[in-house]
């Protein structure tokens, strides 16, 4: 008669305790990885805060224009520039990117050339941002004649964001189960109505994740904007066709100054940049939550 939970068996050598302790080791390794990542993040935030929190909190830092002195004035033009760039990138790159993904996934025939397009778009996602800056310089500054203006920077950043948005949106749309589409078509619903009423709402959480990732990368980018002609000192809030700057460039310009006080200003600007990214992400996450309630 068999005993409960015994290891004696004719057919098996279960070794269950040993297998579980190996699993435990991996669990601790993964936990270590998580803690390491969190630790480095905390260290970074602590370092930034130590250097910059005081300067960040001085009145006028967020509302005044910059001065020659590191402890006077503020970074308002940089904030306005970055927010404007971010908004334009969202307004331009999201419709184009999601539209492209919808076409590739719902309308294009499954042929060899759609695979080639997909590979190329994925590759574009890895191209360094400075290359996009050169492209933007040629197309927006010169060919279209916008010159080194906010619009050129914004369109360049939109190009930068497009590949990631297309690839992640396509994944999100692909993950919508076919049974949902078939249910809709079976009821005499047209393709566009199926896509807009069923496929898109289901895919929005995934699409928004891609949007968050790309827009954060765009707002934090300096290299492409420098090539397109962003300035490092601006005394006004730029309009669409005026000279512009951005928070990463402001950070860069503070860091390169050796005089004391500028490193505090740089750290404070980093806090501002993180805050802008956090707010944008927060809005996108909120929208994603609302749509996630659908499933």
């Amino acid at each position: 008669m068999a005993t409960a939970f015994s290891d004696d068996s004719q057919e098996f050598t279960p070794n269950i305790e040993r297998r579980e302790s190996i699993g435990k080791i991996f669990e601790y390794i993964f936990l270590l990885g998580l803690l390491l990542g969190l630790f480095i993040l905390a260290l970074l935030l602590f370092d930034i805060g130590k250097d910059g929190l005081a300067r960040f909190l001085t009145p006028g830092f967020l509302t005044e224009t910059p001065s020659r002195f590191p402890d006077k004035g503020g970074i308002l033009p940089a904030i306005v520039s970055s927010v404007s760039l971010g908004v334009i990138v969202i307004l331009v790159a999201v419709p184009i990117g999601v539209g492209a993904a919808l076409y590739l996934e719902e309308y294009a025939p499954k042929a060899w050339w759609t695979d080639i397009i997909e590979i190329n778009i994925s590759n574009l996602a890895g191209v360094p941002s400075i290359v996009y800056g050169l492209l933007g310089l040629g197309v927006f500054n010169y060919l279209l004649g916008f010159g080194p203006a906010l619009i050129s920077g914004a369109l360049t950043l939109s190009l930068l964001s497009l590949p990631v948005i297309i690839v992640t949106s396509r994944e999100a749309i692909r993950s919508v189960p076919d049974s949902l589409r078939h249910a809709s078509y079976g009821l005499g619903i047209t393709k566009w109505q199926t896509v807009s009423n069923h496929v898109l709402p289901y895919a929005i959480p995934g699409i928004l994740t891609g949007v968050i990732i790309s827009v954060s990368r765009a707002i934090g980018d300096a290299a492409s904007l420098i090539v397109v002609g962003a300035v490092s000192f601006l005394t006004f809030n730029p309009g669409l066709f005026q000279r512009f700057m951005a928070l990463p460039i402001q950070i860069y310009s503070y860091i390169t100054r050796p005089e004391p006080g500028f490193s505090n200003a740089a750290a404070a600007t980093i806090i501002a940049l993180l805050a802008v990214i956090l707010v944008l992400n927060g809005i996108a996450i909120y929208i994603r939550q609302r749509f996630s309630a659908i499933h």
Partner: protein
């Protein structure tokens, strides 16, 4: 070739299948079918797995168009119009030929919206609230959901979801209702309710039902089509229609040996 009982002719033909074959990525999965579907009757498609019954069912509303690599040739007339004519609009076809799928697929929306979406989009002129209630009643699920019409369709149990899908399909008041093993996920009581619904519905609609359950076919179907598989010269399985007769004939005195063997349970 169909093996129609010569004493029972078909008066009003809803679908006339003339030599339809279905290919998946170049491979002929269903051999030529000749079949006439009578109006306002319940027609059961029975047969072992892989014999092409669901494949043929999906031809009637052109859902095979949505399967990449699927190709259909032959003529399939719906009320004298070939639905595979390139000029035919498949959206219009599906408004009149509705479908209930094998696995329940309610929309991830509220129960009310599941029923109301398609009629509203198709410009339903009557009262939507009444339509929703009437459809849910006929699908034998009104009592269970009447207090939670705003809750999500996907939160229901499997059997309830399938009855919701049936309600959704009949809300569009189609001419023909295609059902692909609609009761396979249902308990016996829900199955009985769905079968009674079909018996009611056939006064207005034609119902074509794929079923694995021979007893179900003998209970409610007026006509039964028996499909079977064959191995072709390369060793691949193909489906084919073997016999199509009034149900009581096919079960009591089938014309073909294959049908006789299947029905007596010797295989399948």
């Amino acid at each position: 070739m169909t093996y129609n009982n010569p004493n029972k002719q078909i008066d009003n033909v809803v679908f006339d299948v003339e030599g339809v074959r279905v290919f998946y990525s170049g491979f002929m999965a269903l051999r030529e079918v000749y079949l006439k579907i009578p109006e306002k009757q319940i027609i059961a498609f029975i047969g072992p797995s892989g014999c092409g019954k669901s494949t043929l069912l999906r031809c009637f509303n052109r859902m095979n168009d949505l399967i990449p690599g699927a190709a259909v040739d032959g003529r399939l007339n719906y009320r004298n119009r070939n639905i595979y004519d390139p000029k035919v609009n498949s959206v219009k076809l599906r408004r009149q030929v509705g479908m209930v799928f094998q696995r329940p697929n309610p929309f991830p929306k509220s129960i009310y919206e599941n029923i109301a979406f398609a009629p509203r989009t198709n410009g339903y002129k009557g009262n939507l609230d009444e339509l929703v209630e009437q459809s849910l009643r006929r699908a034998a699920i009104w009592d269970e959901v009447k207090d939670k019409l705003k809750s999500k369709g996907t939160a229901l149990s499997g059997g309830q979801q399938q009855r919701l899908c049936i309600a959704r399909a009949i809300a569009m008041k189609p001419d023909v209702l295609l059902m692909d093993e609609p009761c396979s996920a249902l308990d016996p009581i829900s199955t009985r309710q769905v079968e009674e619904l079909c018996l009611e519905l056939k006064e207005q609609y034609t119902i074509i039902m794929v079923t694995h359950n021979m007893q179900q076919a003998s209970r409610i179907a007026d006509w039964t089509a028996f499909f079977n598989t064959d191995i072709d010269e390369h060793g691949k399985r193909q489906g084919k229609l073997v016999e199509f007769s009034p149900t009581e004939d096919i079960f009591s005195s089938p014309t073909t040996k294959e049908a006789a063997e299947y029905i007596s349970g010797r295989f399948g």
